[in-house]
Amino acid sequence: MIQFFNVTKTYNGVRALLGVTLQVEKGEFVFLVGPSGAGKSTMLKMIFREEVPTKGQIYVCGRSTIRMRHHEIPFLRRQIGMVFQDFRLLQERTAYENVAFAMQVIGASPAEIKKRVPEVLEMMGLKGHAGMFPQQLSGGEQQRVAIARALVNKPTLLVADEPTGNLDRDTAWEIINCLQEINNQGTTVVIATHAREIVDTLRQRVIALEKGRLVRDEYEGAYAHAT
């Protein structure tokens, strides 16, 4: 599903990633951990083809993101559901409209939209919030809307950048449970986080970054190195 080969990324001389090699298989649930500035977001952006590596090769869904032509990028992104740290919701549109937007953009028919959007909203526990604007929703609810939007086009891969970053403990758990449920239904899930408690409790695969280097890759791993 995702392959990084010796990937290095520098932003005008600032090193964000250095020689990262890794592979994520279809159906996996992966935590990407590391202190702030370790390069987690950079990695996710490269999966999403928002950035390209300075050196190395990246394959996502069997396609090289480097050799990919500009007009092919949208079609890669339609296979990936991205959940951004700042939610990236449209403030002047309701929860329903925000989710429907993702379907309109790829040319889905009104009938398809009418059928699919309530489905996803219900799955995310937002049935009663469809007509509300982001400002009327709590942080956790906004995050659910963002996840619903990421899921609405049935991606094969879901990528979330610090999805629990701004949420209280209980809400964070709710969100993580949602993402686990999505993974159980077959979607590959990659989560960048520094929520130590969650990572330590779930014992999923953990990939740790430090100053741009991959320092650990463990199945059933913990947030910190077991010493």
């Binding site: 949208p74 992104r77 991205m82 309109q104 953009v105 086009n153």
Partner: protein, 297 residues
């Protein structure tokens, strides 16, 4: 580029939404486009009319070749044949001294009186009235006539033709410069407006692209907005131009009938359609400039 019909519905909705949202900015852009296209239309009409006036003056220019006193009739016939033989000459007519005096009398409107006051004699010379196939050849033909036997003096609207031709040349040059400058202004303003709209919608664009929108999907509403802005500007310019020009033309026809103004509906229609096309074209260029920059990232 290929678009599904249901996508078009979205595009039109988005365009209207953004036109509503940025009301005053759009108003400013369409207004400036209208002013630019109006001045452009005025410039074009000025050029058309100078050309029109020049060509009617040109066709009026004739050469008068006055003959020496006492040239015999067979010499006159020979001279007539000689003038006719010049390839650039379109028409020759002989005006005898009697005919000249009669027409002079008619101009003064007192038949017989002039002849009387001249004491029965006629001081006017016989003359040939010569017209050329092309007004630019007037000088050359006039020079040839001067050298012919029996010809005394040659007169024509010396300099008038040259000056008018020169004037239309400069009119065209100035008109073209003004037109190009104004077109650039309009493009700049539309591009700025579209950039403002895009800035207002930057979050939306980022989200669109992150959920897999193609470039054309992002581009169309802005392109359409540009087309509407340019087109609306053109329509306003055409309306104002039409009313002011028809008013001017009828005023001129009433008060200054000797100034011939072009008033050909077909020419005006062509001009207005060109202005509309220009407005739409400016809109497209303007929005593509801004959209291109945004989509590069």
């Amino acid at each position: 580029m290929p678009m599904l019909p249901k996508t078009w519905l979205y595009i039109v909705q988005e365009t209207l939404r953004s036109l509503k949202r940025n009301g005053w900015i759009n108003f400013a852009a369409a207004g400036t486009t209208a002013v630019s296209l109006f001045i452009l239309g005025v410039a074009i009409l000025l050029v058309i009319d100078t050309n029109f006036i020049a060509s009617s003056v040109e066709s009026d220019v004739e050469i008068m070749a006055y003959l020496q006193d006492g040239v015999k009739e067979d010499a006159v016939t020979a001279l007539r044949a000689q003038i006719k033989a010049i390839p650039q000459v379109k028409d020759v007519s002989f005006i005898s001294k009697d005919q000249a005096l009669t027409s002079l009398e008619q101009q003064f409107g007192q038949s017989g009186q002039l002849r009387q006051s001249l004491g029965g004699s006629n001081p006017l010379p016989d003359a040939f009235k010569v017209s050329t196939t092309d007004p630019r050849q007037v000088t050359g033909v006039a020079n040839l006539l001067t050298r012919m036997p029996g010809v005394d003096k040659v007169r024509y609207g010396q300099g008038v033709v040259e000056k008018l031709l020169e004037l239309t040349y400069y009119m065209r040059l100035i008109g073209l410069t003004v037109v190009v400058l104004l077109a650039l202004c309009a493009i700049f303003l539309i591009a700025t407006t579209i950039r403002l709209t895009m800035f207002a919608r930057r979050r939306e664009i980022v989200i669109m692209k992150s959920v897999g929108a193609t470039d054309w999907y992002v581009r169309w509403p802005f392109l359409l907005e540009g087309i509407i802005l340019g087109g609306a500007g053109a329509v306003v310019a055409i309306a104002v131009l039409f009313f002011s020009y028809s008013t001017l033309a009828s005023k001129v026809m009433e008060t200054l009938p000797f100034i011939p103004l072009m008033y050909d509906n077909l020419v005006l229609l062509q001009l207005f359609l060109s202005l509309l096309a220009a407005g739409v074209g400016l809109g497209i260029i303007g929005s593509l400039i801004s959209v291109h920059r945004y989509l590069q990232a």
